[in-house]
Amino acid sequence: MMTSCFRTTTPSRYTNPFATCWTRPGAIPFQFAADDSAAHCLARLAASNWRGAIVGPHGSGKSTLLEALRPGLVDAGWNVAVIALRDGQRRLPAGWLRSSLAADRPLIVLDGYEQLSRASRLALRWRCHRAAAGLLVTAHSPVDLQTIYCSGSSLQLSCAIVSRLTARIASPISAADVAASHARCGSNLRELLFELYARHEAMARGAVVESVRL
């Protein structure tokens, strides 16, 4: 990690490497486990008749993996329709599924499958089956679809991602800061990056930041 830090007087996204624009799904390439890849994931999805789930805890990279798999799905000839459900959204927006399934070779990508009620899930699976559509979802725990990938996090992964982010934009964040945030956030990489964003801001503004105890 780079340790030099500067703060220009001109606001810019280049002043904090942990800003949303650098960390949102798709901005950082998904880091697969050592012997895995997007091609392997797509092969597992194909083997389960193009219906599967990515499973993992909050902030572990499920949405990022969806973004990583998207080009491969398009290359395989699917018309990909993506929707992300927010907390409490128990059903799909009216008309969305009908119009998505009307496409040629549709594949539904649903981020947040467990938000749907049981009846809505059943209806979704049935309608995808009837339309010969693919279905790829994310969930926090195994669901009624074949798990094609279990996402998780580790200190090593957190350090690798922070190194990548700070290679382009300097930050006073140290390896000890990353370790401390990892200890607090566990597998929630999104939360870890949020913490580092705030810490970077505080340090760059010269605020007194509690030293990290390891």
């Binding site: 606001p11 800003a19 949303t20 705030a198 801001e201 503004r205 007194v208």
Partner: protein, 133 residues
Amino acid sequence: MKQDPQVMLKLDSAAAEYGAGDRLSGHFLAESAAPWPVASAELSLLWYTAGQGEEDFAVHYFQRFVDEPGRPLDLRLPQRFAAALPPSPLSYDGQIVKVCWCVRLRVFPQQGPEVVEEAAFRLGQVPAAPGDA
């Protein structure tokens, strides 16, 4: 050895600080020994938000430079631009969200990937948010 052209985007004001209603001007060019065939270049003057959470942006001024018969686009020559700045939103360096202004240039070569350059500037004098000392 062939070298990629270096695209330079410069504002006339070295301080890059402007007030509402001020006129911003500058130029861009490509430093290249040989002619660099370019299909077009797009210059935008825009603001965006950066920080944690949702992002927003809007383009205030847009100008397209096109290579066309009788008016070839030679980026080895300085291409000038100018625009009047709006009254808002003013630049703000907040801890959670920043309002950022920049001039963004996208160059589309006849071959190869597009080249993007940015020049950040400040609109107004809103003080930055202090640290939580």
